[in-house]
C-alpha cells in the first residue's frame, strides 16, 4: 500500500479511501446507488419520469449496471428549458446552495446542492487534491472565480476539507496573486491553466522567479489544455501541473482528477458513473474508444443528473493506473462536440454574441469572433461590421454605440471582451455560411 502513503491519504480525510476499493465492491455500490438515484429522479422530476414513461421504463428495469444504457439522456437544454428549478428533486428547504453558469440564450443554467451534495462535492475535491499529493500543511491559493461559478467555492471547500490552509484570492489582480504566493509561501495553486500561464509571465516581468517560490503543485481545470501547455508550465515554473475535471451540471470541479502518475484523470465513479457514447448516435462505446463522455450522478440529491451529455470528447482508458486506485480514468479532454468556446474558464457560445448584438440594434450585423492568447490569457475580440443603420457622422455617437455593444456583450457573456467596429464587408465570408469563430490561440 505504498501508494496510499505516497499520496498521503492516510493522513487526510477518510473520504479518500473509496479510491482503492476492490472493483467488484465498487460495481455493487454503483448499481445500488444507480437504482436509488433513478428511483428518486423518477419520483421527483417530471421531465425524467415522462421520458421514462415514453420508453415504457420503470426504475425496477435497472437490474444491472449495463441497464443504464436504456435510460434517456439529459442535456444542457433540459436545464435551460426547465429554468430555474424544474429539474430539482429536493424541496427548497433542503437546498443549501445555488450556483449558475451561462447558458446559450443568456439565461443561466441553475444547479443546486443539498447539505449532503456539498459534503460529497467537498469529499471528491479532497480526493482530487490528495491525489495531487497535497495535504494538511499545504497552503492552497484558489484563484478560480468565487461566486455563481462553481470553480472557486468548489476548490475552496475541498482544500479546506483536506485540512490545507486556503488563500481565497478568487480571480484577477495578477500582481497581488504573485505577491501572496511569494509572501505566504503558497505551495499549490488552483486556477485555470491559462491564468497560471499569465501569472508566470507577469511574475517574470515583476522579477519574481517562480522556481524559487514554495509553489510545487498546480491544479488546473475549467478549460481544455494540452500536454504541451503542461510541459511549458512545468518547465517555466518548476511545479507539477495536474488536470482536474468537472462541470457544474454534475457537481462542479472534482468529477475527476489526475494522480501523480499523470496517466489520465480518475473519475470518482462511486459518485459519477462514466460512459462513452458515439456523439452522433448516442450508442455506448467500449473502453478505449473515443467518444462523448456521459455522466450519471449516483448520489446527488438536489439535481440528480441521469446520463448527462457533457459534449466533452474523451475515452475511458483501459487497464488499471499504476497508483493503485481502482477508479477508472478518462483521457485528457482536448475538444468538445459542440461549438461551445471556453474562454478563461467561462463557457461562451457564438449564439450569445448574436443575441447580444440583436438586443442592441435590432438588426444583426455581420460579426466575427477572434480568439487569441496574449501573455498566456485568452482574449476574445468581437469584430462587428458597421451597418448603415448603425453608422453616424458623429464620433460621440459611434463611441456610445461602441460602449453599448461592449456593455451588452460583457453582460451576456459574463467576461470582458474587446469590441472592434470594422468596415462593412471586411470580414471573411465563406461559401455563404459565415465563419463566426477564428481561433488563433496557440499553446
Amino acid at each position: 500500500m505504498n501508494s496510499i502513503l505516497e499520496t498521503g491519504v492516510t493522513d487526510c480525510h477518510p473520504a479518500s479511501l473509496p479510491d482503492y476499493v476492490p472493483v467488484s465492491e465498487l460495481r455493487d455500490l454503483q448499481l445500488s446507488r444507480l437504482q436509488s438515484v433513478v428511483t428518486r429522479a423518477w419520483r421527483q422530476v417530471k421531465l425524467f419520469r415522462s421520458r421514462m414513461d415514453e420508453r415504457g421504463l420503470a426504475p425496477e428495469d435497472i437490474r444491472l449496471l449495463e441497464d443504464i444504457a436504456k435510460l434517456p439522456f439529459t442535456q444542457k437544454s433540459d436545464l435551460r428549458d426547465t429554468y430555474p428549478f424544474g429539474l430539482f428533486a429536493s424541496p427548497m428547504k433542503d437546498v443549501v446552495r445555488l450556483h449558475a453558469s451561462s447558458g446559450t440564450t443568456g439565461k443561466p443554467i441553475v444547479v443546486a446542492y443539498t447539505k449532503e451534495d456539498v459534503e460529497v462535492w467537498t469529499s471528491v475535491v479532497v480526493r482530487c487534491l490528495a491525489g495531487c499529493g497535497l495535504n494538511r500543511g499545504d497552503i492552497v491559493q484558489v484563484a478560480y472565480g468565487y461566486g455563481l461559478f462553481t470553480g472557486g467555492l468548489g476548490a475552496h471547500y475541498g482544500a479546506e476539507g483536506l485540512g490545507a490552509a486556503v488563500v481565497p484570492t478568487s480571480g484577477g489582480n495578477a500582481d497581488r496573486q504573485i505577491m501572496l504566493m511569494k509572501d505566504f509561501g503558497v505551495t499549490a495553486m488552483c486556477c485555470t491553466p491559462t491564468y497560471f500561464l499569465h501569472l508566470i509571465e507577469r511574475a517574470a516581468e515583476l522579477g519574481v522567479e517562480m522556481k524559487e517560490l514554495s509553489l510545487r503543485a498546480g491544479v488546473f481545470g475549467a478549460e481544455p489544455w494540452s500536454e504541451s501547455l503542461r510541459q511549458h508550465i512545468e518547465r517555466a515554473s518548476g511545479i507539477e501541473a495536474f488536470d482536474i475535471y468537472g462541470l457544474s451540471e454534475i457537481i462542479g470541479p472534482g468529477v475527476g482528477c489526475e494522480c501523480r502518475r499523470h496517466q489520465g484523470l480518475h473519475i470518482f465513479e462511486d459518485h459519477f458513473y462514466p460512459e462513452i457514447v458515439d456523439p452522433a448516435t448516442g450508442t455506448p462505446l467500449p473502453d478505449g474508444d473515443e467518444g462523448e463522455l456521459v455522466l450519471t450522478t449516483l448520489s446527488k440529491q438536489a439535481i440528480p443528473m441521469i446520463r448527462y451529455r457533457t459534449r466533452d470528447i474523451t475515452a475511458l482508458l483501459p487497464g488499471r493506473c499504476d497508483c493503485g486506485r481502482t477508479l477508472r480514468r478518462i483521457g485528457r479532454i482536448g475538444r468538445r462536440s459542440d461549438d461551445m468556446l471556453i474562454i478563461r474558464g467561462v463557457n461562451v457560445f457564438p449564439s450569445q454574441v448574436e443575441s447580444a448584438l440583436l438586443e442592441i440594434e435590432g438588426v444583426l450585423p455581420h460579426y466575427q469572433i477572434l480568439l487569441t492568447r496574449q501573455q498566456g490569457l485568452d482574449q476574445m475580440e468581437v469584430q462587428i461590421e458597421v451597418t448603415p443603420q448603425m453608422f453616424n457622422d458623429k464620433i460621440g455617437a459611434l463611441q456610445r454605440l461602441h460602449e453599448r455593444l461592449q456593455g451588452a456583450l460583457d453582460h451576456v457573456l459574463g467576461i470582458r471582451v474587446r469590441v472592434a467596429l470594422v468596415e462593412a464587408h471586411s470580414l471573411e465570408r465563406s461559401e455563404g455560411k459565415a465563419k463566426r469563430v477564428i481561433d488563433r490561440r496557440t499553446l
Binding site: 458597421v386 448603415p388 453608422f391 457622422d393 458623429k394 464620433i395 459611434l398 468596415e423 471586411s426
Partner: protein
C-alpha cells in the same frame, strides 16, 4: 443654406482612405473639403464633394457605409478674429456645435467654416440675425 456632406466609416488602418478616394476620382467627383475625425480604432471621413448624391451612390455600390448629412458653411474674413466673431454670435443661445472644421478659400482672402448643428434651423436664424454670411451650396462649390 444647408450644405450636403458625405460621411464615411473607415477603420484606422494604413490604406483605408485610398480606396474611397480612388473611387471618387474615377467617377470624376471633386472633393472640395475633407475632414477626418478619428479614434484609435476607426474614423469618420467627412467630405464636401461636387456631387454628393452621386458620391454616396458610388461608395454604397462598392460596399462602403456612407451617410449624407446637412451642415452649414460660413464665409469669414481670413484674419485673426474671423472665427471668434462667428462662434461669438452663438454664445449664450444654447446652440451646440456638434463638430466643425475649416479650410482657406482659394482666393486667399476668406476662409470657410463648416458647422454641424443638432438644430441647423435655429443656428441659421441666429447667424442671420448676427449678419453672418451663410453660403448656399452652389456658392460653396463654385468658390
Amino acid at each position: 443654406m444647408k450644405i450636403q456632406q458625405i460621411s464615411l466609416f473607415v477603420e484606422n488602418k494604413p490604406g483605408h482612405i485610398a480606396a474611397p478616394a480612388r473611387l471618387l476620382a474615377q467617377e470624376g467627383v471633386d472633393i472640395r473639403a475633407l475632414y477626418l475625425a478619428d479614434t484609435q480604432q476607426y474614423g469618420i471621413l467627412r467630405m464636401i464633394v461636387s456631387d454628393c448624391q452621386k458620391a454616396a451612390g458610388i461608395l454604397e455600390a462598392h460596399g462602403f457605409v456612407a451617410k449624407v448629412t446637412e451642415v452649414l458653411a460660413v464665409e469669414v474674413a481670413d484674419h485673426p478674429g474671423g472665427l471668434a466673431d462667428v462662434v461669438g454670435a452663438l454664445e449664450g443661445t444654447g446652440i451646440n456645435i456638434e463638430y466643425m472644421y475649416a479650410f482657406p478659400c482659394r482666393r486667399g482672402e476668406e476662409a470657410i467654416l463648416i458647422f454641424r448643428f443638432a438644430d441647423p434651423d435655429a443656428a441659421i436664424a441666429h447667424m442671420e440675425t448676427a449678419g453672418i454670411n451663410l453660403l448656399e451650396s452652389n456658392e460653396l462649390l463654385n468658390l
